[in-house]
Amino acid sequence: MTATPDTTTWRGWLLSDTPTSRRHARLSSLYKGWLSFRSNTLAMVGLGILVALLLMALFAPLIAPHDPLAQNLLDRLKPLGTPGHIFGTDSLGRDILSRLIYGSRITLYIVTLVALIAPIAGLLAGTVAGYAGGWADIVLMRITDIFLAFPRLVLALAFVAALGAGIENAVLAISLTAWPPYARIARAETLTIRNSDYISAVRLQGAGPMRIITRHIWPLCISSLIVRVTLDMAGIILAAAGLGFLGLGAQPPSPEWGAMISEGRRFILDHWWVATMPGLAIFTVSLGFNLLGDGLRDVLDPKAEK
């Protein structure tokens, strides 16, 4: 509101109050969001953690000092700081650091898949229920309630048990249990949005329900969903790890972090690092997501907190 930004620099161009093209407008609003996000230190830390995770997953073969699957029964359960095995080795003599690095791929995989499935399913169910009202609403919300009332881990377990253990099924199972809250959020938002004047306005242009839901309601629900998803990600990683812990998640010898804890928990008393290192890894990434989610909430959803 003070001086108008100088439009000759990139920064100025991006901060311009009078965008001159669609692209300019979009970039400009993205950049402004980024600026306010950037000022949130903790959120930046979160983002940093996740970027690091991404890089780690991407360049795992370059970073990892060992093959994550290479066993050496003579070199098993080496402690932290052993030369060549900074994080020690596990019960089959595999390098824990390398396994953690490769495990980041699986974690990312899980996170991406769940983040793609659950919110979209929830968004679809919630907005349709909220906008259509009537019977569609009642039926959809009952279904949501059923899945909500289902003991979460039991549902996931049942699903995995039905389809067999494995990472994809674990992801499906988690998604199956994760969507109902999103549906509820989306529905609540839809209910407030659907009677607003701008929706009435598009209806007056003759727009059909599908168009209103996808073009007008979704963009408004998405930001709060993104925040929720980010905050839930930690829970999702932990749920996947929980399944791994019960032996139903990722399959050996894949270095999934939850499964690593599960394998290492036998040694918790004498060789604590075997379970602790993956525990710390999960903790760090979860923390990253939580920090990021907190920050995103401030940017995307200023009403929610702040």
Binding site: T20, R22, S196, S200, R203, L204, Q205, G206
Partner: protein, 262 residues
């Protein structure tokens, strides 16, 4: 003589059922001639907006007769495209009537596309010009606009399908007096330019008097009086409610005055 642009006869509108039943409009009847500006006044909650919402199909529970250009409307959701091409509406609150994540460009181009226009680029430029917003505003988002500017965008959106009838639901009540003047002038200009018929709701008698030639006074869902603006100015009203409205709009007088009604 051609049919009136809008014709209401014995319109009833209600909400809810059973105990929640609210009769929002009771037996409203009036005509709006082509090219006329007609005002609806009355206290808050008297059913002014509801009449408009019933007309546009935003409220489905009504009975009685409504005609647009001589075509009868039927209760129910569906209004065909031609209806929306003919009738458009501007809402009361400019802060609530624009999608927070759609830029001006998106709002207008979507509207144009829905109505099947091809020369969208050219039309957007023209519309923005019409409502007195330069091309500089085209890619802004609502949060980058002032209230008056938003209301101009809303008017541009309503003008996009080139309607004949514009419904104005308190278009300036959320705005400052200075901005109100700008918008009222703009609406006047547009009316002359495009041969529009106005149906305007307001609780500010002065605003209605300024814009309209005839007014209907509503109270409790009923139309108590339809009169010309000249009559109103001359204080030639027959109904006590209208009289009290008129008197009240004069302002505050110190104790000495006789302002002692309950």
């Amino acid at each position: 003589m051609s049919a009136p642009a809008l014709s209401f006869s014995g319109l009833d509108v209600w909400f809810g059922s059973g105990r929640d039943h609210v009769a929002a409009v009771k037996g409203a009847s009036f005509d709006v001639a082509k090219g006329e500006s007609f005002g609806l006044v009355g206290e808050s909650g008297s059913g002014k907006s509801t009449i408009m919402r019933a007309l546009t199909g935003l409220v489905e529970t009504w009975s009685g007769g409504m005609m647009v250009d001589g075509h009868k409307l039927t209760p129910g959701k569906s209004r065909d495209k031609t209806f929306y091409k003919k009738v458009q509406m501007v809402f009361q609150d400019p802060y609530a009537s624009l999608h927070p994540r759609h830029s001006v460009d998106m709002v207008l181009s979507e509207t144009l596309r829905l109505h099947g226009f091809d020369d969208i680029e050219a039309r957007i430029g023209k519309l923005l010009d019409d409502v007195g917003l330069g091309p500089a505003f085209r890619f802004r988002y609502p949060h980058q606009l002032s209230g008056g500017q938003r209301q101009r965008v809303a008017i541009a959106r309503a003008l996009a399908p080139e309607p004949e009838i514009l419904l104005l639901d308190e278009p300036t009540s959320a705005l400052d007096v200075s901005v109100q003047a700008e918008i009222l002038n703009l609406l006047g200009d547009l009316r002359d330019e495009h041969d529009l018929t106005f149906l305007m709701v307001s609780h500010n008698l002065a605003v209605v008097a300024h814009m309209c030639s005839r007014i209907a006074v509503m109270k409790d869902g009923e139309i108590v009086e339809v009169m010309s603006v000249e009559d109103m100015r001359a204080n030639a009203s027959h109904h006590s409610y209208t009289q009290s409205l008129l008197r009240a709009s004069q302002g505050y007088f110190r104790d000495t005055d006789a302002m002692q009604e309950a």
